[in-house]
């Protein structure tokens, strides 16, 4: 969640007049209608009724978000190839990569479905979302027209947001390590730290991305 410190007052409640429809904004949570206006630098606009944040622009946001999305892609791909965790019991050792973890359910017959789901939740969906965000924002940052299908890509990325569970997986690692600690000695690999860093980047990226600004940019260029 974004910091609450400098949240500004909400946009004025709309007098039912005749403004063009694309200057209006409806709160997605409570349907209250407002006249959409860009808040001042570093300020946020939230719904006067239910306090849902509606508009929270940042300076250079496109470039920053793209940089963070690239970081996510690089860290995720790199984390696939480095050792993740290893255990050591009385001379026996076993290493597991991130993919091994996702595919742990593969040999369980009907549980293979779960392997696909886990791989999607912790690797594929976070990776796909980062790629979609780059696809949507790169032309906007360069001041060009959006690439074909950009609006559908952005919608897909937003739809997938609750299903990206990398941060839950990291906490899951912590729990698993405590569970296994009286059975074996555990060593962290490079990929573990990469993944932990990745989670911080994902949370930060979601925090600084202003959806309304992006939708408006995608809309404006269409009508140009």
């Amino acid at each position: 969640m974004a910091p609450m410190s400098d949240s500004s007052a909400a946009t004025t409640l709309l007098p039912p007049g005749s403004l063009p429809l694309d200057e209006l904004i409806a709160c997605p949570q409570c349907d209250a209608l407002f006249h959409a206006r860009m808040p001042g630098r570093g300020q946020r606009t939230s719904c006067a009724r239910c306090h849902t944040v509606l508009i929270a622009p940042r300076t250079n946001a496109y470039l920053r978000v793209i940089a963070l999305a690239l970081t996510i892609v690089i860290l995720m791909v790199a984390a696939m190839f480095f050792p993740f965790l290893a255990v050591n019991v009385q001379g026996f050792t076993n290493k597991a990569s991130i993919l091994d973890t996702a595919l742990a359910f593969l040999d369980g017959g009907f549980m293979a479905t779960l392997a696909v789901l886990v791989a999607a939740f912790i690797v594929l969906i976070p990776l796909l979302r980062a790629a979609l965000v780059i696809y949507v924002l790169a032309p906007l940052a360069a001041g060009r027209r959006p690439l074909p299908g950009a609006r559908h890509m952005f919608r897909l990325s937003e739809d997938l947001r609750p299903w990206s569970m990398a941060e839950i997986f990291v906490i899951g690692c912590a729990v698993a390590l405590v569970k296994v600690s009286d059975l074996a000695r555990v060593e962290f690999g490079v990929a573990f730290w990469m993944f932990a860093a990745l989670v911080v980047v994902i949370v930060f990226q979601d925090g600084i991305m202003c959806r309304w600004t992006i939708w408006k940019a995608l809309d404006d260029t269409r009508n140009r």
Binding site: A9, R49, V178, V180
Partner: protein
């Protein structure tokens, strides 16, 4: 504080809603369209001013979620083999074992994520869907807060599935020790997914209609 002022004025003067202004709002990108449009021309989402059928979807997903949650607690989540002893443990047995080894914190996390959150979610989603038609039970601000908490926290139940995946991938040390996932892993994961879908199906705008007295549906005549 400014926010409090807005809140109190909002309680007396009901704000203009998109529906009240004869518009239909896109809950995905916050754009508004004339009532009667069926698809948002900006992001391509389906438009519903109020989706009464969404309540049926909420109940349907939730019932499937509850059905999956029952075997998730009966069947073993983890099958552990250390030298020549085999043990199987359900979710709750796993947490009790942790507590017996002195890891009270982790035992609490598991119990909270795997028992308190799912059960709490069933109750909370059920209450939200039920209270749309009996809105006098709780102030809309509180119901909306409940909805936000359910949306935010629901995904975290997946943590136990990830713990099982990590343990099963990591602890594969021939006869010294090995851990394999039990059938509860998949039913539990499905239960979490279905309850997430139930929460996503709920249309929070129905909490706020008529200043919290529910949407203008034929059923509102029931309420005093």
């Amino acid at each position: 504080m400014q926010v409090d002022d807005l809140e109190s004025t909002g309680r007396h003067a009901e704000p203009v809603t998109a529906r009240g202004a004869g518009l239909v709002a896109c809950t995905r990108c916050t754009r508004v369209w004339p009532m009667g449009e069926t698809r948002c021309a900006r992001c391509g989402s389906e438009l519903h001013s109020r989706d009464w059928r969404s309540l049926q979807r909420v109940w349907a997903w939730m019932i499937v979620g509850i059905v999956c949650y029952i075997p998730a607690n009966i069947f073993p989540m983890l099958k552990t083999q250390v030298l020549f002893t085999h043990t199987e443990s359900t979710i709750i047995e796993g947490a009790i074992e942790l507590a017996q080894h002195g890891s009270y914190g982790i035992a609490f996390v598991i119990l909270f994520a795997s028992v308190a959150i799912p059960v709490g979610k069933f109750v909370a989603i059920g209450f939200l869907a039920w209270s749309v038609r009996r809105p006098e039970r709780l102030h809309p601000h509180h119901r909306h807060r409940l909805y936000e908490v359910v949306e935010f926290i629901g995904r975290w139940s997946m943590i136990d599935v990830f713990v099982v995946a990590i343990l099963a991938a990591l602890v594969q040390l021939n006869f010294a020790a090995s851990i394999t996932p039990g059938p509860a892993a998949i039913t539990f994961a499905l239960s979490v997914i279905f309850t997430m879908l139930a929460a996503q199906s709920f249309d929070p705008r129905m909490i706020w209609d008529h200043d919290g007295r529910g949407p203008d549906n034929h059923l509102t005549s029931e309420t005093p």
